[in-house]
């Protein structure tokens, strides 16, 4: 059911009133333009003569000519119909903000939703929320587009388990049929969901399942960290997922883990990680990564070592051996079970077996010990999830206990995490029950097991033995098509709900827009079904989900506040407005080290050695994550931060391996592991272990929609099923070459700086001696042109290369803010991606194990802009505040400006990219930014619309714009605060200080472009005598 009037394929609605089909608005619209023809048709229907006077004839004739002429116009005329009954709080042209929670993953970051005329157009982190503190990751930024996904289901379906086509069904029928099944159920009723942590949501689930015998909720996430909780229980007796304090870790050792891409709290981790990377008092954190491939976190490490996935356990044990047995540190040195477990892992032996240079283990152990209590060893990741994942976690826990990190950087009690509660064992138990026919009614919501489980897990087969299967996902995805019903749920921006990502930290989810389609929230469906089937206590109540939510908060959450607000409604409104309710005592956040149960070490054993030449490692892609949002074209076109590839996953191989096997970039190979063989192109990736082939999961969706289908292959199917777990790494592999070579959709073909003055870097020791270390060749060049005068503001930017982790959050924020189009795979292959800001990733050193640096590159807003002089029509000019402006309606598209730009940051509209945009995607545009037509050049504008808003606001208040009044979109979302923007004419502003920093330089300064962006040199915390890459 589409509300609003149609213009060909597009659905427009002028107001919420129209959208809701308010009778007055409809009548007004009907009458406004079509009186006479309507009367004519009515008369014709009634068989009456319709009198047409000469005047009317002329009018109609004139109208006909006008319409004929208008049909020749290039664009249809669109009318703006003002509100008749304006909704409260909506002032056209002014945004309305709502606080809510992000649904990009289950981390539960707090967001502020910017809506314009009733439509969410941009998400920003909620500064008041302690989890993400105002920042939002790339996936979170992209999630606003999922609201407008044209392939969401728009009404309920009866599905027939893929025997025939699904059929539309109405809610009453669906509810009656399913309620009937529930009412007559004798077996188990199971709610299979992804991680849910909101107290009201969990209470509802509990009451629902409690209404049926033997019923439960099973949590299954495609990406889960079950081995962490299991290891926590084994080692310390509490089965929790800790809150990892990367912000307190001055030394970080990563073992096959990529917390910056795949962590259960990515934004929080990135913020913490970034804060420690900044140079303060001439010091910074030290990050060491051992991993089989090159992950995003590994790329940001000071020292990176390529090891086989099964050897990660050896490395951990070797470090423990060094600390306990050789150095005799920590009380555990006297425990015989500890020494027994570690005795076979002497550093020398481990180094030899694993392929590390002599002394590495000692160096790492030493560094960790020096920073004991202020370090963290973190090893949970897909690359480390071999069949021995639990063992690795246990050894990691041992290390963190020895190093006294437990309780300091590992919060196990104050506010542990609820962000990933799915476990393999739960799911396996469910599948067993399903197979045995014990499960009678199965509800599935927020998870896609038919896609993400390997076939040998048996889920799809087991479905056959379940009487009624209902999907409450948002579309006919891989799982939904195997069900009996699809009751499509809402997008989080349309929903009520709550979240408790970490114990004691609560936030609400509130809708920022009414339902776009005839869908129903998950909780609303549960309530409706409970009520219809009279299930238990819940079934007897006639309560809406919103009221239930409010009631739960009143009963359970309200008392937790320290008695400040005495009226619940005040509390509720405040919680909705602020977006977070934090009950965690954050003043003293350290806890004592827990006692380590040495019996846990009995689990440890030497991993089985393999004779395989190559092992398959599956890893989590930073952009696609578990593949849930693959119909999101922004994410699909976002380059993977390490490989810079888009639109498909690839088989990553080390340069040595490619040479040995004779593989070329883009060559299709047939990979076989377990039961599945897939053809996949090869990408030669520096920094990988030569015996490893890495493939990202989260691709190869079959039923995501028009964007996601057939992009890449589904590597989840290669996971190996064991009785009590699934393994994703160190999988057996056979590789067979084919002769076919394809072009890959990469956004960056070249990776070396070629010694150009683009990035400068130095080691920490060099920096300590001389803060301007690494910079060279800077000259103050004379200019023929008179300097620009900046009497008012002078906008500039600073970017700290130490802080930039290359996560792409800025790219996505810019895309959402500035209506940057998506071009598709074919055009990316041609080199036509449209990002206004990009992350250039440079390798240096040894190609087998290079050092990596990420550099955000955007329009430098040069004072001596090479683009400005050559535009023949003056479509690009310099303004009095230092911005280089691009005037879209003057641009004729000669493209000389881009030719003359040495940074190549200008993007050209080769086609009318928005021509075939499927509805309702057009609702996602930011109305403050022009949507460019074909033939026009575009580029970063330093968010000139935000500058203007801030100036207007300041003017209204009779003052100047202060530093921090507004932020550019990229700056606003950057989790590590790598980007700083502000007024260079204000000596107190952050950006002025950055411009004066001794580490500061401008890219390609020798060209005398006088860029407005100051970059700070990259400082690596590794010895200066060591040549990069020689440590592995």
């Amino acid at each position: 059911m589409q509300n609003g009037h149609s213009n060909g394929n597009k659905i427009y609605w002028g107001s919420l009133a129209e959208y809701r089909q308010d009778p007055e608005i409809l009548k007004k619209q009907e009458e406004e333009f079509y009186s006479k023809p309507q009367a004519f048709f009515e008369a014709a229907e009634q068989g009456k003569e319709f009198e047409v006077s000469r005047r009317d004839l002329l009018k109609i004739g004139g109208a006909a000519i006008v319409f004929a002429a208008a049909a020749c116009a290039r664009r249809p005329v669109e009318k703006i119909v003002p509100y008749l009954n304006a909704p409260e709080q909506i002032v056209p042209g002014k945004p309305t903000w709502y606080a809510s929670t992000c649904g990009g993953c289950s981390a539960g970051c707090g967001i502020l939703v910017k809506t314009r005329e009733g439509r969410p157009i941009k998400l920003e982190g909620n500064p008041a929320h302690s989890l993400n503190k105002g920042k939002l990751c790339a996936r979170g930024q992209a999630s606003v587009l999922d609201l407008y996904d044209p392939d969401r289901a728009r009404h309920p379906y009866k599905v027939f388990r893929s025997q025939t086509e699904p059929q539309k069904i109405d809610w009453q029928t669906a509810d009656s049929e399913i309620a009937y099944s529930l009412g007559t159920v004798k077996g188990e009723v199971v709610l299979l969901t992804g991680t849910i942590h909101g107290p009201a949501r969990l209470r509802l689930i509990r009451e629902f399942t409690g209404a049926f015998p033997k019923s439960r909720q099973v949590v299954y996430d495609a990406l889960s960290f079950g081995e962490i909780a299991k290891a926590q229980e084994t080692c310390y007796g509490n089965s929790i997922l800790p809150r990892y304090r990367f912000d307190r870790a001055e030394t970080l050792v990563l073992l096959g883990a990529d917390p910056l891409s795949e962590g259960h709290s990515v934004t929080e981790f990135a913020q913490g990680f970034g804060s420690q990377r900044k140079i303060r008092d001439k010091s910074m954190s030290k990050v060491i990564s051992f991993e089989p491939a090159m992950s995003l976190s590994g790329a940001n490490a000071d020292l990176h070592y390529s090891v086989r996935p099964k050897d990660l356990f050896k490395v951990a044990s070797g470090i423990a051996h060094q600390l306990v047995i050789i150095d005799g540190r920590s009380g555990l040195a006297n425990e015989p079970s500890v020494t027994r477990a570690l005795k076979d892992f002497s550093p020398a032996k481990v180094e030899e077996e694993v392929g590390l240079s002599h002394g590495t283990i000692e160096m790492v152990a030493d560094g960790l010990w020096k920073k004991r209590g202020k370090g963290l060893v973190y090893s949970a990741g897909m690359a480390s999830r071999t069949s021995a994942a639990l063992e690795l976690q246990i050894t990691t826990n041992l290390l963190n206990t020895i190093l006294e990190n437990d309780g300091q950087t590992i919060d196990y009690g104050s506010s542990p995490s609820n962000q990933s509660s799915g476990t393999h064992s739960q799911m396996q138990a469910l599948i067993a029950d399903m197979k045995a026919g014990k499960v009678e009614v199965l509800f599935i919501h927020g998870t896609n097991p038919a896609y993400s489980l390997p076939d040998s897990a048996g889920f799809i087969d087991a479905l056959k033995n379940v009487k009624t299967v209902v999907s409450l996902n948002d579309r006919l995805d891989e799982t939904s098509v195997l069900c009996d019903y699809l009751l499509p749920s809402l997008h989080i921006l349309e929903s009520w709900g709550d979240a408790q990502p970490q114990k004691g930290l609560y936030s609400l989810i509130q809708p920022a827009i009414g339902k776009l389609h005839d869908n129903r929230g998950f909780e609303e469906s549960i309530l409706a079904l409970a009520q219809k089937s009279k299930a238990g206590k819940l079934g007897e109540r006639q309560i809406s989900w919103h009221d239930y939510l409010k009631e739960t908060w009143q009963q359970e959450i309200y008392q937790k506040q320290r008695g400040i607000l005495t009226d619940f409604d005040e509390f509720w409104n405040s919680a909705l407005r602020v977006g977070v309710f934090d009950t965690v005592d954050r003043t003293n956040e350290a806890l004592p080290v827990r006692k380590f149960r040495v019996q846990a070490l009995a689990y440890l054993r030497m991993p089985e050695s393999t004779t395989d030449e190559l092992g398959l490692v599956l890893y989590t892609p930073a952009m696609q994550y578990d593949g849930r949002a693959n119909n999101n074209s922004w994410l699909m076109e976002m380059p993977d931060p390490v490989t810079k590839m888009t639109w498909e996953n690839l088989a990553l191989v080390a340069p040595k391996t490619a040479e040995r096997l004779g593989l070329k970039e883009g060559q299709i190979v047939n990979l076989t592991s377990g039961e599945m063989t897939s053809a996949i192109p090869v990408h030669i990736q520096p920094g990988m272990h030569p015996e490893v082939v890495a493939v990202a999961v989260g691709w190869g969706r079959g039923k995501a929609g028009r964007v996601g289908d057939k992009a890449g292959i589904n590597a989840f199917k290669w996971a190996k099923v064991y009785s009590d777990k699934w393994a994703f790494s160190a999988l057996p592999l056979k590789l067979e070459k084919t002769e076919k070579i394809v072009r890959l959709a990469t956004t960056q073909e070249h990776h070396s700086i070629h010694q150009r003055p683009i990035i400068y870097e130095a080691s920490l020791d060099e920096y300590k001696e001389d803060p301007s270390a690494g910079k060279h060749g800077e000259e103050k060049l004379a200019s023929m042109w008179p300097e620009h005068k900046y009497d008012g503001y002078r906008w500039g930017m600073g970017i700290d290369l130490n802080s930039c982790i290359g996560c792409n959050a800025c790219m996505l924020a810019c895309q959402a803010e500035n209506n940057v189009p998506v071009v598709g795979k074919e055009q990316v292959i041609r080199g036509r991606e449209m990002s206004w800001i990009r992350i250039d990733r440079y390798y240096s050193g040894n190609p087998e194990n290079p050092e990596v640096v990420h550099q955000p590159m955007l329009c430098q807003h040069c004072e001596n802009a090479p683009c400005e002089t050559v535009c023949p029509v003056i479509a690009t000019v310099h303004n009095e505040e230092g911005l280089n402006l691009q005037i879209y309606n003057r641009c004729v598209g000669t493209r000389y400006c881009s030719n003359n730009c040495p940074y190549k940051v200008r993007r050209f509209n080769w086609f009318e990219f928005t021509k075939d945009l499927a509805s309702p995607l057009d609702l996602a545009f930011n109305p403050d930014v022009t949507v460019r037509e074909k033939g026009v050049m575009e580029k970063c504008t330093f968010c000139t619309q935000r500058i203007r808003s801030a100036k207007e606001q300041a003017k209204a208040e009779g003052r100047k714009v202060k530093d921090g009044d507004f932020q550019t979109a990229c700056q606003q979302t950057c989790p590590t605060d790598a980007i700083v923007f502000g007024d260079l004419n204000d000596p107190e502003s952050k950006v002025s200080k950055m411009a004066q920093d001794e580490r500061g330089f401008r890219v390609l300064e020798i060209l005398n472009t006088k860029s407005s962006i100051t970059y700070l040199t990259k400082i690596r915390n590794r010895p200066k005598t060591e040549k990069a890459g020689e440590h592995s």
Binding site: R756, D840, M857, V892, N899
Partner: protein
């Protein structure tokens, strides 16, 4: 005047030819029905031009993305074609204007065709800057016309200089060429056998009577135009070269570009004149007017300009090395050894190596060979512009922005279309206009009033 000259220097035209022969020989092709060969070539050219028109339609309908342009290679075939065609035009103007001022009488055989070639080449050239821009329907914004928004164009931009240069060049060349044609149109009018021919040539000849006063005006105007057109030979292509040299790209930003481009323009222009004139003289039986001596003289010019171009290539490489500028060094190293290296070396072969054959008189006077050489020179000169534009763009300052350009079928089709348009226009010219300047050839005859040679043939 001409008789005295002919006594001192060797005769340009066979002394047995008189004025009547000239009129007869040169106007006859315009009076005959089109030969089968002409028709076949014409249909092919029109077909090629039609493919070009289809490309233009697609370009306007779908967008510039149908070509192979991308980030960073935003100019490729279209600008290559533009420079290629405008360069070719320079030979015609040089022959018409500069050789006139230098009193090189041998120019009279070829100047009409060469000048026609210039007009048609400039027409082809002018299309490309319009078509390659993103919004061609707004291309008129490049002209400084009075407007309500009080907007000027950016006079610092070489593209605006191009606008002035091209429009000046086209206007002057057109008027110059047309003015020279007036007496010839009058001749054709006077010989016209059908009413419609008389009418059309009558209009075109603007009432020429052949009186002394008319000739006086003609000579004065000719001299004036020659004087106006002469600096254009040097300035127009210098301005076109500024499109590149004013930018900061390594490989473009080079002070040698103006003389280098002008030399290259003359080089390719003469080669195109050769390509046109060698078949034309054979099929229209004009060998006695466009003699082997004329061809040899043109080959000498080709040799000289080839050496100037070769010098420029070598000097660019030398300066890149000598400058120690890493960007310059890389650009030239990449040009010779990188992705487009085969095109670079083919260009070098065609432009520098092959014309060296013309050191030898035997080769200078060998017609099939010089025809092949002229074709190769044009291939080489097209490649030169391609190499300059694409290799400099595809790998410039920021390595992460490097890319490669892969032409699509539409890049090829527009190029083919421009050749189609050019040859269509030239074939029409060859059919309906006198291809040799009747008036001027008569000025270099030894025995202008001698016995009619072909008297028996026509009555």
């Amino acid at each position: 005047m001409s008789v005295i000259d002919q006594k001192i220097s060797p005769p340009l035209i066979d002394p047995n030819i008189n004025m009547g022969d000239v009129t007869f020989d040169i106007s006859r092709p315009t009076e005959k029905k089109p030969s089968k060969l002409w028709l076949a070539l014409f249909i092919l050219s029109v077909g090629a031009a039609g493919i070009g028109a289809l490309t233009v339609y697609k370009l306007l309908e779908i967008g510039t993305g149908i070509t192979g342009w991308n980030h960073p290679v935003m100019w490729a075939f279209f600008i290559t074609n533009m420079v290629f065609w405008i360069g070719i035009g320079h030979a015609g103007t040089l022959i018409s204007a500069i050789l006139f001022l230098l009193r090189q009488r041998w120019r009279t055989s070829i100047n009409r065709s060469a000048e026609a070639m210039t007009i048609f080449a400039v027409i082809c050239a002018v299309l490309f800057p319009v078509l390659h821009i993103g919004r061609p329907w707004l291309g008129f914004w490049l002209f400084p016309y009075p407007n309500e928004r009080l907007l000027w164009v950016n006079f610092r931009s070489p593209l605006v200089w191009d606008v002035f240069a091209f429009s000046t060049y086209f206007t002057i060349s057109l008027f110059f060429w047309f003015q020279g044609l007036i007496p010839d149109f009058a001749t054709l009018r006077d010989q016209a056998k059908t009413a419609i021919r008389k009418k059309i040539y009558g209009i075109l000849s603007l009432g020429w009577t052949g009186s002394v006063r008319d000739w006086n005006h003609y000579e004065k105007a000719y001299l004036l135009f020659a004087g106006l057109a002469t600096p254009l030979v040097l300035s127009v292509h210098s301005v076109v070269s500024f499109d590149f040299s004013v930018s900061l790209l390594p490989g473009w930003h080079s002070t040698i570009f103006p003389p280098y481009f002008v030399a290259g323009a003359i080089f390719s222009g003469f080669a195109m004149v050769m390509t046109l004139v060698i078949p034309m003289r054979k099929y229209f039986k004009l060998e006695e007017y466009i003699t082997l001596n004329h061809l040899e003289l043109m080959n000498k010019i080709i040799l000289v300009t080839s050496m100037m171009v070769g010098y420029s290539y070598l000097f660019e490489f030398f300066i890149a090395w000598y400058s120690e500028n890493p960007f310059e060094r890389f650009t030239y190293w990449n040009r010779a050894t990188g992705h487009y290296a085969p095109f670079f070396w083919l260009m070098f072969l065609c432009n520098v190596v092959v014309p060296q054959l013309f050191w030898f008189k035997k080769f200078r006077r060998h017609i099939p060979l010089m025809f092949v050489v002229s074709l190769l020179v044009n291939v080489g000169m097209w490649l030169e512009r391609f190499v300059i534009i694409v290799t400099s763009l595809h790998r410039d300052f920021t390595p992460t922005a490097w890319g490669t350009f892969k032409p699509t079928v539409w890049d090829y089709s527009i190029t083919l279309g421009s050749f189609g348009l050019f040859f269509t226009l030239f074939l029409l010219f060859a059919k309906f206009f006198p291809t040799v300047s009747l008036a001027e050839i008569k000025g270099v005859l030894v025995n202008p009033a001698g016995k009619k040679k072909g008297e028996e043939a026509h009555g």
